[in-house]
């Protein structure tokens, strides 16, 4: 009888602890606590130690496979080279002129300026319901919460939490209503204004982002590119997010919803760039992790 009672009390206590812990961590806590940061770093280092040899072998296999089509690639690239050289010269010229004009009107910083911080992905959440991964740069490298994370192809997510030497990235596929990105739809080859919208979540079934609140008059079409606008106050301007796949009216018929296919591959990510916006960023007042205040 005594044993039964003891067991019952144990189970009750553990249930209480469970509810307390879950309740504590469900709300947005913002900064991590010290012991959490410490543990996160310790595990991060372990992951780094084990990851190095595995990554090396993985890389070697990839290189070996690439060797096969090197010749073909070389031919194509050579023909593109001259083309690019011209573009480079033109780009240089435009950049200089842009800077000149900017200095004339006394406005040095733009929303699109940023400092890149390079990082390697060392682990990804083994719980598939949590779309997050760990990278090997942290607070000491200048990373802060809510910074945008990109790869060469486009945006992949944002910084969810930082410890001293590692940080956690929330992937685009885990975005919901509380992680909005203010964005523009780039109209091709016209002088017309860009279409405006907010990225508000991810449709898991079709693996596409939801671009909502597009004004009804805006004509957005399939195939147009979506970039960040920088107006949310945290992300810089002109980060590529994705390409529009489908447009439909929303449930009330007042605005439009576009389904956006992310440009970056969200599943096979090895190296990322964390984007530190040069222009002053806006702290959201309520401490919630929103790019766009609601």
């Amino acid at each position: 009888m005594i044993f039964r009672k003891k067991r019952l009390i144990m189970i009750l206590i553990s249930l209480i602890i469970l509810v307390a812990l879950v309740g504590l961590s469900l709300g947005d806590r913002g900064e991590k606590t010290m012991p959490e940061k410490f543990l996160h770093d310790t595990v991060g280092w372990t992951q780094n130690i084990f990851g190095k040899p595995v990554r090396f072998v993985n890389g070697a296999v990839d290189h070996f496979q690439e060797l096969y089509d090197v010749h073909e690639q070389n031919q194509v690239l050579k023909s593109r080279l001259t083309e690019n050289r011209n573009l480079l010269a033109e780009n240089q010229r435009l950049k200089e002129r842009n800077q000149e004009l900017r200095s004339v009107i006394d406005k040095a910083e733009t929303r699109s300026d940023y400092e890149p911080i390079h990082a390697t992905v060392i682990a990804r959440s083994s719980e598939r319901w949590f779309q997050q991964m760990t990278i090997n740069q942290g607070e000491s490298d200048g990373i802060e919460q809510n910074m945008a994370v990109i790869t060469g192809e486009g945006m992949v997510g944002k910084i969810q939490s930082v410890s001293e030497f590692h940080s956690t990235v929330k992937l685009l596929s885990g975005f919901d209503r509380s992680n909005r990105i203010s964005s523009w739809v780039v109209k091709e080859g016209e002088d017309t204004e860009n279409g405006f919208g907010l990225i508000e979540g991810f449709d898991e079934e079709s693996e596409r982002l939801l671009l909502k609140e597009i004004p009804f008059e805006d004509e957005v079409k399939k195939g147009e590119t979506v970039i960040s606008s920088g107006l949310g106050g945290v992300f810089p301007e002109e980060l590529e997010i994705g390409v529009i796949d489908e447009v439909e009216n929303d449930e009330y018929g007042l605005t439009q919803i576009a389904y956006v296919k992310p440009s970056a591959n969200l599943y096979n990510i090895n190296h990322v760039i964390v984007v530190n916006r040069s222009m002053e960023t806006v702290e959201s007042e309520n401490g919630e992790s929103e790019e766009e205040g609601s």
């Binding site: 189970i11 553990s14 249930l15 602890i17 469970l18 307390a20 812990l21 879950v22 504590l24 961590s25 469900l26 959490e36 543990l39 996160h40 595990v43 372990t46 992951q47 084990f50 990851g51 595995v54 990554r55 993985n58 992905v121 060392i122 682990a123 990804r124 959440s125 083994s126 719980e127 598939r128 319901w129 949590f130 997050q132 991964m133 760990t134 599943y267 096979n268 990510i269 090895n270």
Partner: protein
Amino acid sequence: MSRVLLPLLILILVVMQGMAMNLLPPALIYSDLLFTPHWALVLIVLISMFYDRDDTYYSVLYGVIFGFLIDMIYTDILGVYMFTYGIVIYIIHGLKKMLHANFIVAVLLGALALILADFCLYMMYYTVQIVDVQLQEYVLIRLLPTTIANIIFFIVLYPFVKERMEMWSEQIGQP
């Protein structure tokens, strides 16, 4: 010796779980089926079967500690894995006392642990609305593939650790 080695081994598996998602071919991992590695749990189940005696509860302790670690590194919500692993290992520990541990029984208990644990996780995440998958869909796309994949891991691990753990088990309590 075993006091240091076993936790270290579990830690390595926890770490590997995270790296596996990044390094194994994406086509395999990111198909429509949600394979979820529970390697640490598999090892702890083996510990509870062959290392723990009837009156020692090392495996339950490991379950709680490493469950908490997984909570902290891989998910946002603390306590879910900790509670699940703790309670599942406790049940396995109780069942093992009644059953004679041979290979078939071990595999069945392993499968039971995996199903219980994964379902428990689903229930809790469903309650706090992290997931909104319906039960039937969940069983098809996640529970079955996860259980099968982890049982394979269990069977592979079994011959390597069984003898060794039984040997270490006899050393418990000796100075």
